[in-house]
Protein backbone atom coordinates (compact mmCIF):
# COMPACT_ATOMS: atom_id res chain seq x y z
CA UNK A 1 0.00 0.00 0.00
CA UNK A 2 1.36 3.32 -1.07
CA UNK A 3 0.67 6.77 0.20
CA UNK A 4 -0.01 9.23 -2.59
CA UNK A 5 0.01 12.94 -1.77
CA UNK A 6 -2.24 14.99 -4.03
CA UNK A 7 -2.51 18.78 -3.82
CA UNK A 8 -5.86 20.30 -4.75
CA UNK A 9 -5.23 23.69 -6.35
CA UNK A 10 -7.43 26.14 -8.22
CA UNK A 11 -8.65 29.69 -8.42
CA UNK A 12 -10.96 31.09 -5.73
CA UNK A 13 -14.53 29.81 -5.99
CA UNK A 14 -13.71 27.13 -8.55
CA UNK A 15 -15.05 24.39 -6.26
CA UNK A 16 -11.87 23.00 -4.70
CA UNK A 17 -13.46 22.28 -1.36
CA UNK A 18 -16.56 20.77 -2.99
CA UNK A 19 -14.38 18.39 -5.00
CA UNK A 20 -12.27 17.72 -1.91
CA UNK A 21 -15.42 16.76 0.00
CA UNK A 22 -16.71 14.68 -2.89
CA UNK A 23 -13.51 12.63 -3.02
CA UNK A 24 -12.91 12.25 0.69
CA UNK A 25 -16.48 12.19 1.97
CA UNK A 26 -15.56 15.00 4.35
CA UNK A 27 -17.91 17.80 5.22
CA UNK A 28 -15.56 20.66 5.18
CA UNK A 29 -17.10 24.08 5.17
CA UNK A 30 -18.04 25.26 1.71
CA UNK A 31 -19.64 28.61 0.99
CA UNK A 32 -20.48 30.42 -2.18
CA UNK A 33 -17.90 33.12 -1.81
CA UNK A 34 -14.19 33.10 -2.43
CA UNK A 35 -11.56 32.80 0.24
CA UNK A 36 -13.24 30.21 2.45
CA UNK A 37 -10.16 28.01 2.62
CA UNK A 38 -7.31 30.07 3.96
CA UNK A 39 -5.16 27.33 5.46
CA UNK A 40 -4.45 24.07 3.80
CA UNK A 41 -6.45 21.08 5.00
CA UNK A 42 -5.99 17.41 4.44
CA UNK A 43 -8.30 14.45 3.90
CA UNK A 44 -7.92 10.85 2.80
CA UNK A 45 -9.49 8.21 0.65
CA UNK A 46 -8.35 4.83 -0.54
CA UNK A 47 -8.66 3.70 -4.12
CA UNK A 48 -7.66 0.31 -5.56
CA UNK A 49 -5.53 -0.42 -2.53
CA UNK A 50 -3.64 2.88 -2.46
CA UNK A 51 -4.06 5.50 0.24
CA UNK A 52 -4.47 8.96 -1.20
CA UNK A 53 -3.97 12.06 0.94
CA UNK A 54 -5.58 15.17 -0.48
CA UNK A 55 -4.30 18.56 0.57
CA UNK A 56 -6.84 21.32 -0.08
CA UNK A 57 -4.84 24.45 -0.89
CA UNK A 58 -6.22 27.99 -0.63
CA UNK A 59 -7.66 29.40 -3.84
CA UNK A 60 -5.27 31.61 -5.78
CA UNK A 61 -5.49 33.47 -9.08
CA UNK A 62 -1.83 32.82 -9.66
CA UNK A 63 1.30 31.70 -7.80
CA UNK A 64 3.30 34.82 -7.13
CA UNK A 65 4.60 35.58 -3.66
CA UNK A 66 2.45 38.65 -3.06
CA UNK A 67 -0.35 37.28 -0.88
CA UNK A 68 -0.30 34.80 2.05
CA UNK A 69 -2.64 32.36 0.25
CA UNK A 70 -0.42 32.31 -2.80
CA UNK A 71 2.65 31.74 -0.67
CA UNK A 72 0.98 28.87 1.22
CA UNK A 73 -0.07 27.19 -2.03
CA UNK A 74 3.24 27.79 -3.77
CA UNK A 75 5.45 26.73 -0.87
CA UNK A 76 3.51 23.51 -0.52
CA UNK A 77 3.93 22.65 -4.20
CA UNK A 78 7.57 23.64 -4.19
CA UNK A 79 8.79 22.12 -0.95
CA UNK A 80 6.42 19.24 -0.12
CA UNK A 81 6.52 17.93 -3.68
CA UNK A 82 3.10 16.28 -3.99
CA UNK A 83 2.94 13.34 -6.42
CA UNK A 84 0.08 14.86 -8.36
CA UNK A 85 -1.63 18.25 -8.53
CA UNK A 86 -5.37 18.22 -9.03
CA UNK A 87 -6.23 21.54 -10.65
CA UNK A 88 -9.87 22.52 -10.25
CA UNK A 89 -10.92 24.69 -13.17
CA UNK A 90 -14.23 26.57 -13.33
CA UNK A 91 -15.54 25.52 -16.74
CA UNK A 92 -17.79 28.58 -16.82
CA UNK A 93 -14.73 30.78 -16.46
CA UNK A 94 -12.21 28.84 -18.46
CA UNK A 95 -9.95 31.56 -19.79
CA UNK A 96 -9.13 33.15 -16.45
CA UNK A 97 -8.76 29.77 -14.74
CA UNK A 98 -6.33 28.40 -17.33
CA UNK A 99 -3.81 31.04 -16.33
CA UNK A 100 -3.25 29.20 -13.05
CA UNK A 101 -3.25 25.86 -14.91
CA UNK A 102 -0.30 27.06 -16.99
CA UNK A 103 1.58 28.14 -13.89
CA UNK A 104 0.94 24.81 -12.16
CA UNK A 105 2.08 23.02 -15.29
CA UNK A 106 5.30 25.01 -15.32
CA UNK A 107 6.08 23.76 -11.83
CA UNK A 108 6.56 20.34 -13.38
CA UNK A 109 4.34 18.29 -11.07
CA UNK A 110 2.09 15.76 -12.87
CA UNK A 111 -1.25 17.46 -13.36
CA UNK A 112 -4.87 16.31 -13.51
CA UNK A 113 -7.43 18.91 -14.52
CA UNK A 114 -10.99 18.74 -13.17
CA UNK A 115 -13.21 20.82 -15.42
CA UNK A 116 -15.71 21.67 -12.72
CA UNK A 117 -19.17 23.25 -12.85
CA UNK A 118 -19.77 21.79 -16.29
CA UNK A 119 -23.51 22.18 -15.66
CA UNK A 120 -23.14 25.95 -15.20
CA UNK A 121 -21.01 26.20 -18.34
CA UNK A 122 -23.55 24.21 -20.33
CA UNK A 123 -26.35 26.32 -18.89
CA UNK A 124 -24.61 29.35 -20.37
CA UNK A 125 -24.47 27.67 -23.73
CA UNK A 126 -20.74 26.94 -23.58
CA UNK A 127 -19.55 23.79 -25.29
CA UNK A 128 -16.11 22.65 -24.23
CA UNK A 129 -14.19 20.05 -26.19
CA UNK A 130 -12.54 18.30 -23.25
CA UNK A 131 -10.67 15.91 -25.50
CA UNK A 132 -9.09 18.76 -27.44
CA UNK A 133 -8.27 20.61 -24.22
CA UNK A 134 -6.64 17.48 -22.89
CA UNK A 135 -4.58 17.13 -26.08
CA UNK A 136 -3.46 20.75 -25.94
CA UNK A 137 -2.55 20.68 -22.26
CA UNK A 138 -1.06 17.19 -22.50
CA UNK A 139 -2.85 16.23 -19.37
CA UNK A 140 -6.01 14.38 -18.36
CA UNK A 141 -9.08 16.63 -18.30
CA UNK A 142 -12.05 15.26 -16.36
CA UNK A 143 -15.42 17.03 -16.58
CA UNK A 144 -17.05 17.25 -13.13
CA UNK A 145 -20.06 18.71 -11.33
CA UNK A 146 -18.85 18.79 -7.74
CA UNK A 147 -22.16 19.93 -6.31
CA UNK A 148 -23.93 16.88 -7.73
CA UNK A 149 -21.08 14.47 -7.12
CA UNK A 150 -20.42 13.86 -10.80
CA UNK A 151 -17.00 12.81 -12.02
CA UNK A 152 -15.59 11.59 -8.69
CA UNK A 153 -14.83 8.05 -9.85
CA UNK A 154 -13.18 9.30 -13.04
CA UNK A 155 -11.07 11.75 -11.04
CA UNK A 156 -9.82 9.01 -8.70
CA UNK A 157 -8.92 6.87 -11.69
CA UNK A 158 -7.18 9.80 -13.40
CA UNK A 159 -5.19 10.63 -10.26
CA UNK A 160 -4.03 7.04 -9.84
CA UNK A 161 -3.11 6.76 -13.49
CA UNK A 162 -1.19 9.99 -13.49
CA UNK A 163 0.64 8.89 -10.35
CA UNK A 164 1.55 5.54 -11.88
CA UNK A 165 2.33 6.78 -15.35
CA UNK A 166 4.20 9.88 -14.33
CA UNK A 167 4.17 12.51 -16.93
CA UNK A 168 3.85 12.55 -20.71
CA UNK A 169 4.08 8.86 -21.43
CA UNK A 170 2.91 7.25 -24.58
CA UNK A 171 -0.15 5.08 -24.27
CA UNK A 172 -1.17 7.09 -21.28
CA UNK A 173 -4.73 7.46 -22.46
CA UNK A 174 -5.26 3.69 -22.83
CA UNK A 175 -6.94 3.43 -19.44
CA UNK A 176 -9.62 5.81 -20.61
CA UNK A 177 -10.62 3.95 -23.73
CA UNK A 178 -14.34 3.40 -23.76
CA UNK A 179 -14.80 5.90 -20.98
CA UNK A 180 -16.53 8.81 -22.65
CA UNK A 181 -16.43 11.07 -19.62
CA UNK A 182 -12.69 10.74 -19.41
CA UNK A 183 -11.00 11.45 -22.69
CA UNK A 184 -7.49 10.72 -21.52
CA UNK A 185 -4.35 12.54 -22.37
CA UNK A 186 -2.36 12.91 -25.47
CA UNK A 187 -0.42 9.89 -26.58
CA UNK A 188 2.32 12.09 -27.87
CA UNK A 189 5.42 12.59 -25.87
CA UNK A 190 6.49 15.99 -24.72
CA UNK A 191 5.09 18.50 -22.34
CA UNK A 192 2.91 21.49 -22.80
CA UNK A 193 4.90 24.68 -22.80
CA UNK A 194 3.79 28.27 -22.81
CA UNK A 195 5.58 30.14 -25.56
CA UNK A 196 6.45 33.60 -24.24
CA UNK A 197 7.23 34.95 -27.69
CA UNK A 198 10.33 35.90 -29.62
CA UNK A 199 11.31 38.77 -27.35
CA UNK A 200 11.29 36.83 -24.10
CA UNK A 201 12.07 33.25 -25.13
CA UNK A 202 15.80 33.72 -25.91
CA UNK A 203 16.40 35.32 -22.51
CA UNK A 204 14.23 32.77 -20.79
CA UNK A 205 16.03 29.86 -22.43
CA UNK A 206 19.48 31.13 -21.52
CA UNK A 207 18.37 31.71 -17.94
CA UNK A 208 16.78 28.25 -17.87
CA UNK A 209 20.00 26.67 -19.16
CA UNK A 210 22.12 28.44 -16.60
CA UNK A 211 19.80 27.33 -13.81
CA UNK A 212 19.82 23.73 -15.10
CA UNK A 213 23.61 23.75 -14.98
CA UNK A 214 23.63 24.72 -11.31
CA UNK A 215 23.15 21.33 -9.62
CA UNK A 216 22.12 22.68 -6.23
CA UNK A 217 19.34 24.71 -7.80
CA UNK A 218 18.15 22.31 -10.48
CA UNK A 219 17.89 19.45 -7.97
CA UNK A 220 15.34 21.43 -6.00
CA UNK A 221 13.35 23.57 -8.37
CA UNK A 222 12.08 23.25 -11.93
CA UNK A 223 14.40 25.42 -14.03
CA UNK A 224 11.76 26.71 -16.43
CA UNK A 225 9.49 27.79 -13.60
CA UNK A 226 12.32 29.49 -11.73
CA UNK A 227 13.49 31.26 -14.89
CA UNK A 228 10.00 32.69 -15.45
CA UNK A 229 9.74 33.82 -11.83
CA UNK A 230 13.18 35.46 -11.92
CA UNK A 231 12.14 37.36 -15.02
CA UNK A 232 9.06 38.55 -13.15
CA UNK A 233 11.51 39.82 -10.52
CA UNK A 234 9.83 37.67 -7.88
CA UNK A 235 11.66 38.38 -4.62
CA UNK A 236 10.96 34.95 -3.18
CA UNK A 237 12.40 33.23 -6.27
CA UNK A 238 15.57 35.31 -5.97
CA UNK A 239 15.85 34.24 -2.36
CA UNK A 240 15.41 30.57 -3.29
CA UNK A 241 18.28 30.78 -5.76
CA UNK A 242 20.54 32.48 -3.25
CA UNK A 243 19.70 30.01 -0.51
CA UNK A 244 20.25 27.00 -2.76
CA UNK A 245 23.63 28.31 -3.87
CA UNK A 246 24.79 28.98 -0.33
CA UNK A 247 23.77 25.55 0.96
Amino acid sequence: MKEIIVAVAGQPNSGKSTIFNMLTGARQHVANYPGVTVEKRTGRYSYKGDAVTLVDLPGTYSLTSYSPEERIARDFLLHEKPAVVLDIVDAANLERNLYLTFQLDEMGIPLVVALNMMDVAEGRGLKIDTYKLSELLRTVVVPTVGKKGRGGGELKEAILNTYQGGRFQTGYGEAYKGCSACPGMSREKGSFRVDYGEELEPILSSLENRLSEAPKISARYPARWLAVKLMENDSEARRLVQKAEES
Binding site: Y61, S62, T64, L94, E95, R96
Partner: protein
Amino acid sequence: MTLNDVKPGQACCIARVNLGGATGQRLMDMGFTPGAKVKVVRNAPLVDPVDLTLRGYHVSIRHQEAGGVEVEEL
Protein backbone atom coordinates in the same frame (compact mmCIF):
# COMPACT_ATOMS: atom_id res chain seq x y z
CA MET B 1 -7.81 57.68 -20.80
CA THR B 2 -8.34 55.23 -17.96
CA LEU B 3 -10.92 52.57 -17.21
CA ASN B 4 -12.34 55.02 -14.69
CA ASP B 5 -13.40 57.37 -17.51
CA VAL B 6 -15.45 54.72 -19.28
CA LYS B 7 -19.21 55.08 -18.80
CA PRO B 8 -21.50 52.18 -17.94
CA GLY B 9 -22.56 50.38 -21.11
CA GLN B 10 -19.35 51.27 -22.92
CA ALA B 11 -16.58 48.88 -23.83
CA CYS B 12 -12.86 49.50 -24.20
CA CYS B 13 -9.58 47.76 -24.72
CA ILE B 14 -6.81 47.64 -22.11
CA ALA B 15 -3.61 49.39 -23.16
CA ARG B 16 -1.53 49.23 -20.00
CA VAL B 17 -1.80 48.54 -16.28
CA ASN B 18 -0.12 51.41 -14.43
CA LEU B 19 -0.28 49.81 -11.01
CA GLY B 20 2.63 48.18 -9.28
CA GLY B 21 2.88 45.73 -6.44
CA ALA B 22 0.18 43.37 -5.28
CA THR B 23 -2.74 45.29 -6.82
CA GLY B 24 -1.20 45.44 -10.29
CA GLN B 25 -0.19 41.80 -10.09
CA ARG B 26 -3.66 40.74 -8.99
CA LEU B 27 -5.37 42.63 -11.80
CA MET B 28 -3.05 41.07 -14.35
CA ASP B 29 -3.59 37.62 -12.82
CA MET B 30 -7.31 38.17 -13.26
CA GLY B 31 -6.89 38.92 -16.94
CA PHE B 32 -6.39 42.71 -17.05
CA THR B 33 -3.70 42.55 -19.69
CA PRO B 34 -3.01 44.70 -22.77
CA GLY B 35 -5.43 43.84 -25.55
CA ALA B 36 -8.16 42.48 -23.28
CA LYS B 37 -11.64 43.84 -23.97
CA VAL B 38 -13.49 45.23 -20.95
CA LYS B 39 -17.08 46.38 -20.69
CA VAL B 40 -18.25 48.63 -17.88
CA VAL B 41 -21.58 47.23 -16.66
CA ARG B 42 -22.61 49.53 -13.83
CA ASN B 43 -21.53 51.43 -10.75
CA ALA B 44 -22.56 50.32 -7.29
CA PRO B 45 -25.26 52.47 -5.62
CA LEU B 46 -22.66 54.29 -3.55
CA VAL B 47 -20.38 54.69 -6.59
CA ASP B 48 -17.72 52.16 -5.54
CA PRO B 49 -17.07 49.50 -6.77
CA VAL B 50 -17.56 49.35 -10.51
CA ASP B 51 -18.87 46.17 -12.11
CA LEU B 52 -17.06 45.03 -15.26
CA THR B 53 -17.02 42.11 -17.63
CA LEU B 54 -13.88 40.80 -19.25
CA ARG B 55 -12.84 37.45 -20.67
CA GLY B 56 -16.34 36.11 -20.16
CA TYR B 57 -16.77 36.85 -16.47
CA HIS B 58 -17.95 39.59 -14.12
CA VAL B 59 -15.61 41.34 -11.73
CA SER B 60 -15.93 44.39 -9.49
CA ILE B 61 -13.01 46.66 -8.75
CA ARG B 62 -12.54 50.01 -7.01
CA HIS B 63 -12.61 53.22 -9.01
CA GLN B 64 -9.18 54.00 -7.68
CA GLU B 65 -7.89 50.75 -9.19
CA ALA B 66 -9.80 51.39 -12.43
CA GLY B 67 -7.94 54.71 -12.59
CA GLY B 68 -4.68 52.80 -12.84
CA VAL B 69 -5.75 50.90 -15.93
CA GLU B 70 -5.04 52.74 -19.17
CA VAL B 71 -7.53 51.95 -21.92
CA GLU B 72 -8.29 52.75 -25.53
CA GLU B 73 -11.69 53.35 -27.04
CA LEU B 74 -12.98 50.61 -29.29
